[in-house]
């Protein structure tokens, strides 16, 4: 298979246009299933009561916030080393979705903190580093748009994304390294300590968010491609 064929913006533009709706559809289906499992099937928590159901949004959103950042940084690295246009555009397209999930994680987290910890906010290591993640997303978006020459913006922002990569292990492992308020991981590759329905609900929601992210970034990258390539023949051809 010739990857460079798909790496050409005009080809990718059409491909993305065809694929995005499917990902949105998948996200809707998985999301509905996840919510059903989470809100109806999963049992009430013995200690926390119903409020624990925030977990079905909070945890998948937290996962996605980190995962998207990782993918974005990878695209950044590719665009820096191979000087490919499309990778940089993908990185730009991912950032807003990532910022949104980070915000959701913070928001649901502090919403959950009120009943469980008695406060909306503590300067716990995980929470601080998640907040820094949000600002890294903002910084990425601002930096990418701060240059007149978009290619320079691409490179500067990619570099920032790579610098910020250190933050991810800090978010993820902070609960192990420091014993703080936030609870540790219960979902690990080696097994889980959770009720099976809760686990399924979380996984379904996570996949739904994942599919949504792919759909949203494909849609966004189409807009970016159009804007960048507005002087080319093929874009002008689209208009007519």
């Amino acid at each position: 298979m010739n990857w460079f064929f798909f790496a050409s913006p005009s080809t990718f533009y059409r491909l993305a246009g065809r694929m995005a709706p499917w990902f949105f559809a998948l996200a809707a289906v998985l999301g509905a299933a996840g919510l059903y499992v989470g809100l109806v099937v999963a049992p009430t928590d013995a200690q926390q009561g119903e409020v624990y159901r925030i977990i079905f949004i909070h945890v998948p959103a937290s996962w996605m916030s980190m995962f998207i950042y990782f993918v974005m940084a990878c695209y950044g690295a590719v665009s820096l080393t191979f000087n490919t246009r499309l990778a940089a555009m993908m990185a730009r397209a991912l950032a807003p979705t990532g910022a949104m999930f980070t915000f959701v994680a913070l928001w649901t987290g502090s919403f959950w903190g009120r009943p469980t910890w008695g406060t909306y906010w503590v300067w716990d290591a995980r929470i601080t580093s998640e907040l820094v993640l949000l600002f890294l997303y903002f910084g990425f978006i601002a930096l990418a748009n701060a240059f007149e020459d978009p290619r320079r913006g691409d490179r500067a922002a990619a570099l920032l994304a790579l610098i910020g990569l250190v933050n991810l292990p800090i978010i993820y492992f902070s609960v192990l390294w420091w014993n703080t308020l936030h609870q540790g991981s219960s979902v690990k590759l080696t097994g889980s300590t959770m009720h099976i329905a809760m686990l399924w609900g979380m996984l379904l929601m996570a996949f739904s968010f994942w599919m949504y992210s792919i759909g949203a970034s494909l849609t966004r990258v189409r807009a970016i491609i159009l804007d960048r390539e507005r002087r080319t023949h093929w874009v002008r051809g689209l208009a007519t």
Partner: protein, 238 residues
């Protein structure tokens, strides 16, 4: 007129990291001695703001003792932030950065030297002055020591992080805001652990855990950030 003879084509010895470091370190220190405004501004800002606070808040001893370490750290952080724009901007504007980029001295060398000089001209005076300011807030000797230690470890991290952010924002539109947006959030963890160290000490706990976290951060920053600064400078040159 007889033009001084230069040994033509004697290709300069390939520069080492140390040579680059020494070059920019000594040059930037000389510049800050010659033109002490920047350093003085940072110090004056630190001292005045830390002294202004009691004026704004009212001077109850207990209250002051309670907020002292936090206020001093915030002031140090702001003072460090204030000094960031000067780090590369003037070299960028007058063409020196171009010359440095094209020099045979290795970039990580002179970039590190610049950062070190920046720390000596700003972070170090802040650290040295902090106990004096802490006295104003009625902090105990232990707490003052913890505060100074935390600043001694934390301010280099601020210089390193700040250098990377300034270099990234070089040549960007809206440089100032970008800098605030990039640098201040990255400073937050340093603030949290730095102020945490002094506060732990003040409330009778040990400052060690906080300090070792700061130390780990410093090692990470020393290793990882200079290359990032170099890459950012290259992007700015384009």
């Amino acid at each position: 007129m007889n033009v001084a003879a230069a040994p033509m084509g004697a290709s300069p010895h390939p520069g080492s990291f140390a040579a680059g470091f020494a070059w920019s370190f000594s040059r930037d220190l000389k510049l800050s001695v010659r033109h002490p405004g920047e350093t003085m501004l940072v110090i004056a800002f630190f001292v005045l703001v830390a002294s202004l606070f009691p004026l704004g808040v009212g001077a109850e001893p207990q209250l002051l003792q309670r907020i002292g370490p936090g206020v001093i750290w915030v002031c140090a952080l702001l003072a460090a932030f204030l000094s960031l724009p000067g780090m590369f901007a003037s070299d960028y504007a007058d063409g020196s950065l171009e010359q440095m980029t094209l020099s045979p001295l290795p970039m990580p060398g002179w970039a590190s030297g610049k950062i070190a000089a920046h720390w000596v001209a700003t972070g170090l005076p802040l650290t040295v002055l902090s106990p004096l300011l802490g006295l104003q807030y009625g902090l105990t000797a232990d707490t003052l020591l913890a505060l100074a230690c935390a600043l001694a470890i934390g301010t280099p991290v601020l210089s390193l992080l700040g250098a990377a952010c300034t270099a990234l924002a070089l040549g960007a539109r809206g440089g100032g805001m970008l800098l605030a947006l990039l640098a201040l959030p990255l400073f937050v963890p340093v603030l949290v652990f730095g102020a945490g160290a002094a506060e732990a000490q003040a409330s009778g706990l040990s400052a060690a855990p906080h300090l070792s976290i700061l130390g780990a951060g410093l090692i990470l920053a020393v290793m990882g950030l200079p290359p990032a600064v170099c890459a950012a400078v290259r992007i700015a040159m384009d």
